[in-house]
Amino acid sequence: MRKVVGNSVSKGSNYNQPSEDGHFGQFGGRFVAETLTAALDDLSALYERMRGDGEFLAELDRDLSEYVGRPSPLYFAEHLTRHLGGARIYLKREDLNHTGAHKVNNTIGQALLAKRMGKPRVIAETGAGQHGVATATVAARLGLACDVYMGQEDVERQSLNVYRMKLLGARVIAVQSGTRTLKDAMNEALRDWVTNVDTTHYIIGTVAGPHPYPMLVRDFQSVIGREARAQILAAEGRLPDVLVACVGGGSNAIGLFHPFIDDVDVRMVGVEAAGLGLSTGQHAAPLNDGRVGVLHGNRTYLMQDDDGQIVATHSISAGLDYPGVGPEHSYLKDIGRAEYAAATDDEALEAFRLLNRTEGILPALESSHALAWAVREVPAMDRDQLVVINLSGRGDKDIMTIARRDGIVL
């Protein structure tokens, strides 16, 4: 039997999660069809070896620096800071990574794992298309066949990224089942994987899925927080007061948070998509308005009805339009180490416009949710406080969506 640590863990100090079998307290685990267990065992074993393997880590570092362009800057947003009139705001510029978002940090790492497993094919699920692009990119570079599953609804609203993936040589498979969004793409990717498990590695794009994915995706994304920690210490000589990141599955947030987790005075705020408003039910905020259940291989907070059916979510941002959330976020919420707020579609759009006008930066709609929290909360903070916001991606892909809302045909 596993050791149940649950809520007895003190608020973040000497944090050591997940347990050996992939539980974060009551969350996480490995709730999958039996066929996949062997592949997950193999992946766990390989990852355990690689995380201490000098050659692997050197190759990863080299790729991150020379191909992705890391470290990404920590930019002092002087004009936004002045505009809001509160805490000093720093932006972690993941939007400047190759392919335009944090997603590539993970796909680089997982592609190196796939190569070591000798698997000639990778698959991925994608919502906004950023993870699909990041997967297609590393697949092109390593000569791996690549199929990306994407809900039909997302194929339509993110046509730019669909074409990008095709240019990279990937096949984009439009998923017609269920709600035709990210969760259904993940179902279909799992069906593919169970069928082709001998030849295929599934590159999950977020800190969800069965163990070891939530852990290994977190570890690959933690480069964000490690850099940000050193950068803020260099710039300000102290740790930030608040970290802010948007949360769909939650990979950019956990990447920023994790290296600060033992710094218990650093407040960590994840921002979910409140869609049309938390009270409308038309949102994608399971940590604010969900219940614990099991989906896609792990136990976590989910958007579901009282009969256990997963419900349709809504967000203007395809990347946050997911009914679940990484199990580690559920755990951090329950132990009180992180807090989870929400921003509506309208608030995110307002923040999107504000960053364009004040800093000349076009943020992704996903990241705009984190910015929206700052717009709401920073004015009330002291001017000597420090806020680090993860600008997880750039917004080129969202221009069509926003133009359409403005009634403009491009």
Binding site: R30, A33, N187, T195, N196, D307, G308
Partner: protein, 266 residues
């Protein structure tokens, strides 16, 4: 676990007969069809009924059973409707074991699941995404001690793990005949035979083979090495493709099940 349950009694009473487990999705296309359809399965020669609990995200199922789930949910089927159907079936049949098959989340969402399921006349559960490592906790918090938990063994399951799974399982073991989703056409009898030999070295539980048992001929071949077969997609297709209302559907179901029964011997 050697308790006397409808399932263990049925498996023990088969003698030389091979078990035919027949699957339909509850509420497909409407809950009014479910009880007549269950009876039709028994009339055709089914020994065990696997009643699918519709779920919004059936990640291990192929297109036919996905569509059945979507039809059932679109028709408003709720978990209590599934239990009510079981209870109505029990009014006329107290011996055919009923195993609910589906995904964990629909069970986890239920209050007092174990009591309600037993009261309705459910005998066991096949939870596709419940690993044996979580079985103890699942029993304690949700399933209770009286229901049989049927576990899946896959082609990729290691020998050591087969023993772990068998130690948590009761009723029978469900062997997934190939790497893939329900309804795919990939079953190889030679592969099944080889893995079954391995499984039998680890457990005395009967082994029923499912996924890809598409017709009588496949079933006939599989039961030369297995204790039974589970047939799902083939029956769900009959329900989807038969027009003309409940009577037409039940007649077609009975005929299809009888084809399997005939091929497997009586």
């Amino acid at each position: 676990m050697s308790r006397s349950t409808r399932l263990s009694r049925r498996m023990a009473s088969l003698g030389g007969r091979k078990a035919l487990a027949a699957f339909i999705t509850a509420g497909d296309p409407h809950i009014d069809y479910t009880v007549p359809a269950m009876r039709a399965l028994v009339t055709g020669g089914a020994d065990i009924i696997e009643l699918g609990v519709p779920f919004s995200d059936p990640e291990a199922d192929g297109p036919a059973i996905q569509a059945a789930s979507e039809r059932a949910l679109a028709a408003g089927t709720r978990f209590q409707d599934v239990l009510d159907a079981v209870a109505r079936f029990r009014e006329t049949d107290d011996s055919t074991p009923i195993v609910l098959m589906g995904y964990l989340n629909t069970v986890l969402a239920q209050k007092a699941f174990a009591e309600r399921a037993q009261h309705a006349g459910v005998d066991g559960l096949i939870m596709v995404n419940l690993p044996p490592e979580e079985a103890e906790e699942f029993r304690r918090d949700h399933a209770g001690q009286a229901l049989d938990l049927v576990f899946l063994v896959a082609p990729t399951t290691s020998e050591e793990r087969i023993a772990t799974i068998a130690s948590q399982a009761s009723g029978f073991l469900y062997y997934v005949s190939f790497k893939g989703i329900t309804g795919a056409d990939r079953l190889s009898v030679e592969d099944v035979a080889a893995k079954l030999a391995l499984i039998r070295r680890k457990t005395d539980l009967p082994v029923v083979v499912g996924f890809g048992v598409k017709d009588g001929e496949t079933a006939r071949q599989v039961v030369t090495v297995a204790d039974g077969v589970a047939v799902g997609t083939a029956l769900v297709r009959v329900m989807a493709e038969t027009t003309g209302g409940v009577d037409a559907v039940t007649a077609a179901l009975t005929a299809r099940v009888a084809e399997f029964r005939e091929a497997m011997g009586h």
